[in-house]
Symmetry: C2
Subunit: 568 residues, 2 copies
């Protein structure tokens, strides 16, 4: 046996080293300044989390699940069902959601409910939707003017002429195939896997779907749901890598486009975006809107709705949502203008000028610019340098500020173009980095990002579902950046497509998988996210004050609910 | 359009930032000191690698494979079959293999060949090996003295009494089930998946297996092969996470134990370890031997072979292998004494004293001490502090040096005991860290490891197969540590179980997946590995000189073979 003093010296050295490392973390300031209530809540929460790890995720003999496991596996294992940790995470104030794509945010069932209420809604496919082609065909929706002809041939029959429009309602009522999610369950009672039921918005959209509902209709809805999400089920091939995930992911946007791109739906969807985020404790959302399509469909079915109209609708919807939530709660949403990184430089100039025009019309609402799309195969930022630099001059000329907030480093390839996008983004003075999956392996860039106070919008569930990491536990950058106190804001990316609505799922996955993350750590993350919102300091100050109030209220609720669990 | 000078300024800034970051890398010194030949070879290799990425891994429209993908998927896609990059990687000098487990190193077919030649070899199972239990039963082998009874009841019949020993030969010749790998192929001609054929050692062990071979025997061999490896096939459930992988992984050692733990096999196996590594360009191996079992089986079948005998056999085998390879080639192998991290402190003291005794008997051969096993569920280093500190005093007392070379951080759980093992290992002055999967997320520890010149033995394929990362591309520490010039030595861990024999597979996966890695990068890694061998400086100097000679010869061969590909 070693002498006790040797042992003590070792234990002290370990404790000192841990403390030295912990002092660099993002949550250090918050943990050292806790009120007595916060400290009590934090301890109770950590015990609760450890207990939930043991009872739900790390059960003796259960080889199938583990804390922080892949999202769909986790949903099957109960993630999102009421549990102590889930309830607390769901209820806590989340701060700002800085990275989500507008058309991938609100539950797809909301779009389906609206489609059912839209008489002009039509549907087409690139081939007859027979049993064999059902899952491989390209399906699209669009609201057509009443005057426009629909085919009367069933889209489900061999006689269907590829590309011809049919009535949505008729197609829905005549869906001839089994409910796709029933295949998984082997039970006619289960309309959807249990974990999908939970993804429905807490408040249903207005309007009743009951009259039109039917078992054929339900099966159709589940089919279209499946076309708009990455949720796995028996009828579609399992996704095992990033390329397959992106292939499916990209296809979902084409399905969503025609359902969302209709004036009344657009407005309702935007309102629901704000309301559903408010329900999840999110105060503020910066939605990346993809303005690639020049026109959407007006209420009367004509495809002439401009970008300007769209922003106006967005503003109206946000204003109405705020009014509905009342004075007591701070909520807001802004727009990051985006287009897709496959266009050429000439076309990019058109979009950049369009962005400038919108900014001048709606200076409070257009807060940034980004290029989106699958980074690996698409064009790198370096391809667009001339136009992006010109844009900076143009903004200066116009006396406006539209900061870049670029996606960069969402890739598996070390040293590939998508990885190298990080250098260009940083040197183009990006204000935040979207994803930055590969950032932590770059020591100089990591230090520079911290020095320049650039926030990294990490989307843990998105990164896992899209094949950049097997689970949040092995994410190449998340914990490495957090422990270095590089600014990180957890984000949901495309929650309607992955079904990680709001921020609760991403927060939960972090805190359940990481024993060094506590309730106060999550709070520090949430509070700090506000700092990186693209609004002025006064607006941020208001948001922080509101957040502090919410947090205090939350701690009170938490102690009331769980205070009895405190160990004496 | 921005002005050309703005564009140039941006491009220069990007180039400067890249150069700044690259100057910190492990390969920087080597890349800046290249001879003309090395520079030529490096350029040709990079072009060759990029071409092979495109033609084999990133083919347009191929969604199934990608460069650096999971190991078994990669094998199916041709990894290990002759290709330009494979040929070069296979042939290059690899330096030292610092992390492999003795009983998980040599191709399992070698053990099977030896079992067939061992008349006393017996087999048992914990239940009758019927069609239903074949893949879930626990199967063991052991050489028994001739005098000991074997049961005559077939191990494949319901009548078999669980736990009774039967003749290996009789069991093999009467294997009643289909060849398990034929199930995968749907063809009676395919005895094993093509990629498994390639895993056979380049030189077959002595002795002929032909006379005893038969289609039943082949099927039996494939069955036992499957019990000793993680190679996926139809008959066994797919492994989808780390817990499942470890469950299967641990079971393989119990199967291997009885085949390997027999004096003549042990000697032949050790010799083959050195020879097969030499064939792969590895100069030096530090094998972690698990001394948990106190006795193995002597040539006459008695189970009385001691640890001392074992080390003596190891020395004889290595000496014979060296003699066989001749004076011209430097090769060597040493032993890291290990036991398993589930024993109590009293038992640990026994092993530590055993380790000291062996060190005193064989001072040149026992070079370090480690604790092995699944870090997450087993005991953390902190549990063993008293005995580990005492060991350091005991070594000082005895005037010997047995450095620690601890496994640490082979885990998914941030802040869990296995993650925290890193603190204890470093403060116990570990000379290297086994795995360190979670290291890069610890900024203070990362800096400290670099400062203390501790080498991290990263095992990319092992980490992927055992569920710590989806692929080498998203490894949480590999590239982050390399880019920070923290010492890293690529290692194979348990290549007989994963079938990533030698170091070629791990080297290939790195260079094919990382565009910032070149031939000279791999060479820098290989050369540097020698620096962390646990031998004296003079021995290292000899190894480095030998490596330099091999490398020069390799570059000559490479340019002769591929020089015509140089772009003008």
């Amino acid at each position: 046996m070693a002498s006790q003093s040797d042992i003590d010296a070792h234990l002290q050295a370990v404790a000192a080293l841990k403390a030295q490392e912990a002092s660099q973390r993002y949550d250090h300031a918050a943990l050292t300044a806790m009120t007595a209530d916060e400290a009590r809540a934090n301890t109770i929460f950590t015990n609760m989390r450890d207990a939930e790890r043991e009872s739900q995720w790390e059960k003796e003999g259960d080889l199938a699940s583990f804390a922080g496991m892949d999202f769909y596996g986790a949903r099957k294992n109960g993630l999102g069902s009421p549990s102590d940790v889930w309830n607390a995470v769901r209820r806590m104030p989340k701060g700002a959601l800085l990275h989500c794509h507008f058309d991938g945010t609100v539950d797809t069932s909301f779009l389906l409910e609206h489609a059912k209420k839209t008489p002009g809604m039509a549907m087409k496919a690139d081939r007859a939707l027979t049993k064999d082609s059902l899952w491989s065909a390209t399906v699209e929706f669009l609201v057509l003017p009443e005057s426009e002809d629909r085919s009367n041939v069933s889209i489900w029959s061999e006689e269907y002429a590829p590309g011809s429009w049919v009535s949505f309602e008729a197609a829905r009522e005549s869906f001839p195939y089994p409910h796709p999610y029933e295949l998984d369950q082997g039970s006619s009672h289960a309309h959807m896997p249990a974990y999908m039921e939970l993804s429905k918005p807490a408040a249903q959209p207005n309007g009743t779907s009951a009259p039109g509902s039917s078992s054929k209709g339900d099966a159709f809805d589940a089919y279209v749901h499946s076309l708009m999400t990455l949720t796995p089920h028996e009828a579609v091939p399992a996704i095992t890598n990033s390329k397959q995930a992106w292939s499916k992911f990209q296809s979902t946007f084409g399905v969503i486009a025609g359902l969302i791109g209709y004036e009344p739906t657009l407005k309702a969807y935007t309102k629901e975006l704000v309301l559903s985020h408010a329900r999840d404790g999110i105060s503020y959302t910066e939605a990346r809107i993809n303005f690639l399509t020049e026109f959407m469909v007006r209420s009367d079915g004509t495809p002439t709705l401009t970008h300007e109209d769209w922003v106006r609708i967005f503003i109206e919807a946000v204003t109405e949502a705020k009014a509905e939530l009342g004075e007591g709660v701070f909520v807001d949403a802004k727009i990051i203008y985006t287009t897709v990184r496959f266009i050429d430089n000439d076309k990019l100039r058109w979009y950049l000028e369009d962005c400038i025009s919108l900014k001048k019309l709606f200076p409070e609402w257009i807060v940034g610019f980004d290029l989106v799309g699958h980074e690996d195969p698409l064009l790198p930022l370096k391809h667009y340098i001339p136009e992006l630099l010109r844009f900076q001059h143009r903004c200066a000329e116009e006396g406006i500020s539209i900061p870049f907030v670029f996606h960069a480093g969402e890739t598996l390839t070390d040293g590939g173009d998508a990885d190298l996008n990080l250098y260009d983004a940083i040197l183009l003075n990006t204000r935040r980095i979207g994803h930055g999956v590969s950032l932590a392996r770059h020591p100089t860039l990591t230090d520079l990002v911290k020095e320049k106070d650039i926030c990294v919008e990490i989307c843990p569930i998105s990164n896992q579902v899209l094949g950049y990491t097997a689970s949040i536990c092995s994410h190449p950058s998340l914990l490495a950046l957090l422990n270095r106190n590089v600014p990180v804001a957890l984000s949901s990316d495309d929650p309607s497509i992955f079904e990680n609505f709001g921020l609760s799922y991403d927060f939960y996955q972090l805190v359940i998988s990481s024993k060094s993350t506590s309730l106060v750590s999550l709070a520090a993350l949430a509070r700090r996210s506000i700092r990186y919102a693209l609004v002025d300091d006064e607006a941020k100050q208001r948001m922080v004050e509101d957040w502090d109030k919410r947090w205090k209220k939350f701690v009170g609720w938490f102690l009331k609910e769980y205070g009895h669990l405190a160990r004496q």
